[in-house]
């Protein structure tokens, strides 16, 4: 009993030390009155036509940081998300083919309401994605919103009905790969254009830079699209929504089938 108490106390001490290191030790208690210098550069140049070489022409500065100034970071973050979903699918391999043929679902009232609400959720999610460069929001948030519609449909209708309508593992995997492909292509779009026009460009280039005079137009017919930011947001939204849908479909597989599958793969070694 004494050793257990000692272990609990030592764990408490370790938790406190780590918490101290994470809060007070790493970040000093300092909240500035003035904007930090780096943030000042970002705020002044993110949507400023008078400094075109440093601007991303995106009014939403967080989106400008995410998809323009630190675009490669975000790309690898999407890669982390992708790897996590691939690992999940690998853990549950074989289960996705054993979907039930019939599903009961919930009552007629719930189904009807879900049919209306799911459409509205998809519309709101699309609006969040498409306005990602203008107002707070973007691909991640809108994609997560759209995935809620899939979750609702899964609960209200059951998995078999969704599989009937081709919202299944295979489709979401394909849509997800399509979104990631679009993401990679829009990251390289300035590079491809530069190869054709025989000039220089960077990966993840949005607006023209020094020595790289090529870039996407930030407005089409007076409608602000912020160059590649809109494209990246759309493809990211598609990829995130399909990734969540895939996770939800895997989670809603019947329990007994999953258990049988796991145990049989263990025995087969």
């Amino acid at each position: 009993m004494g050793s257990r108490l000692l272990a609990a106390l030592s764990m408490c001490a370790m938790a406190l030390a780590l918490a101290y290191a994470l809060t007070v030790g790493v970040f000093s208690i300092y909240i500035p009155i003035e904007l930090r210098p780096l943030a000042k550069i970002l705020v002044t140049s993110a949507y400023n036509e008078s400094t075109p070489l440093f601007s991303s022409m995106t009014p939403e500065i967080v989106t400008a940081v995410v998809w323009d100034y630190r675009g490669i970071d975000t790309f690898f973050e999407v890669a982390v998300f992708y790897v996590a979903i691939v690992a999940t699918a690998a853990l549950f391999r074989g289960i996705e083919r054993s979907a039930p043929r019939t599903s009961v679902g919930l009552s007629t009232i719930v189904r009807t309401v879900t049919r209306i609400v799911a459409l509205m959720i998809v519309v709101v999610g699309s609006a969040i994605i498409l306005h990602g460069h203008l107002t707070p929001g973007g691909g991640f948030q809108g994609g997560a919103t759209i995935a809620v519609a899939v979750a609702l449909a899964l609960v209200a209708y059951g998995l078999a009905k969704l599989v009937e309508h081709r919202i299944d593992y295979e489709t979401s995997l394909k849509v997800r790969s399509l979104g990631l492909l679009g993401l990679s292509l829009s990251a390289c779009i300035a590079l491809i254009a530069a190869l054709i026009l025989n000039t220089n460009a960077y990966v993840f280039q949005n607006q023209p830079k020094t020595y790289a005079p090529i870039g996407l137009p930030y407005a089409v017919d007076g409608v602000l699209i912020s160059g590649t930011v809109l494209l990246l947001n759309i493809f990211d939204g598609i990829a995130v929504a399909a990734g969540f849908a895939l996770l939800l479909i895997l989670l809603s597989q019947p329990e007994d089938v999953a258990r049988e599958r796991v145990l049989s793969s263990e025995g087969g070694e």
Binding site: M11, I29, A39, T74, T88, L91
Partner: protein, 128 residues
């Protein structure tokens, strides 16, 4: 003075929550509770980052340029009142990665539950 106390209070809150979350990750033997504690830890670190990005000015503004043809006065206003956009961008990144890690852990836990019939770490090593 009041603002200083508020910052101190928020820091103490975050400190305590991180402590509880780390204790939960380390000391709890149930995998589901470990995962819950880990999500609490991630969200608290996000809260800390958002707090660091805040500014004590009158009427702090979100980092969004609100006019489609911004004059230099608009941008000056944003420099005077806007909060730090960089840390908010970090938090978006952190939330997504947190979510991916949590999803993977949940699926691992389900897998382990199917395999061992329990989520208690102490019982997993025993007879199957």
């Amino acid at each position: 003075m009041i603002l200083d106390l508020l910052v101190l209070y928020l820091y103490a809150l975050i400190f305590a929550t991180i402590g509880v979350a780390i204790y939960g990750v380390v000391a709890r033997s149930n995998v589901a509770k470990k995962i819950i504690a880990l999500t609490i830890l991630g969200d608290t670190v996000n809260l800390l980052l958002v707090l660091l990005g805040y500014r004590f000015v009158e009427r702090p503004a979100p980092p969004v340029v609100t006019s489609l043809v911004p004059t230099s006065r608009d941008i000056e206003y944003l420099v005077e009142h806007g909060v730090d956009p960089l840390l908010q961008a970090f938090v978006i990144t952190a939330i997504v990665i947190n979510l991916a890690v949590t999803a993977l852990l949940v699926f691992l836990a389900i897998h382990a539950y199917h395999r061992f019939g329990t989520l208690e770490m102490d019982e997993m090593g025993g007879e199957v």
